[in-house]
Symmetry: C2
DNA sequence: ATAATTTGGTTTATAAAATAAACCTATCTA
DNA sequence: TAGATAGGTTTATTTTATAAACCAAATTAT
């Protein structure tokens, strides 16, 4: 009936991060922060969770002497996202064949 | 960019309850419990939250001498669900016009 | 009759999660 | 060289989800 929803993706901020990375393929921390409206602290924690799960990679480099954190989605992350979307449909496609 | 997700609906169990009530229009507590696989305790708590928000009504009657709790969705609940689905699309419709 | 079981839940306690506040380091700028 | 700013991380707090414990009435078994 209802398919389980990956708890890692069923979170407003983490879902937004994943969504951004799917379309952008690569994004810097401040950009994600701006687009999601999240605080840096919250974003840092959620990025780390997605990274720990292998859904994204986090590269820490420098950009004109300043630290620069770049996030990218992984194949596993993309797969998980697609699975999540399919699962969601079992809740949303009410009364549809 | 990303529309906020009603925290009351962005919950696996509560979303399942709402989904059931949208298609069934009326459902008894044990039926919801069976369809969602939730424990009675958890279900009781989440039903109460939806009820407190005015998203569903909870009628406590009797059915051949035994207590029978019937849940129904309200117009406000239906509206909230539809709004939630629209908001979700801002996260899911990646790269779509 | 009454003891045990089942039904239909609610209340309370615990575990997990989200979120922000406080903090740190390095670089700019006045 | 004293702030101010950028770019985060760590830690603490609040909220939420979840299950365990509990309760009452009705049914079934002894």
């Amino acid at each position: 009936m209802f398919q389980p929803l990956d708890p890692l993706l069923h979170s407003e901020l983490r879902l937004a991060i994943m969504s951004l990375l799917i379309s952008a393929d690569e994004a810097e921390f401040p950009y994600i922060k701006e687009q999601t409206g999240a605080t840096a602290g919250n974003l840092s924690v959620q990025v780390e969770k997605l990274s720990a799960a292998g859904y994204i990679t986090v590269e820490k480099t420098f950009k004109s002497k300043r630290p620069c954190t770049i996030c990218r989605i992984t194949p596993a992350g993309l797969k998980a996202f697609e699975t999540y979307v399919q699962a969601l449909k079992s809740y949303l496609e009410v009364g549809k064949a």
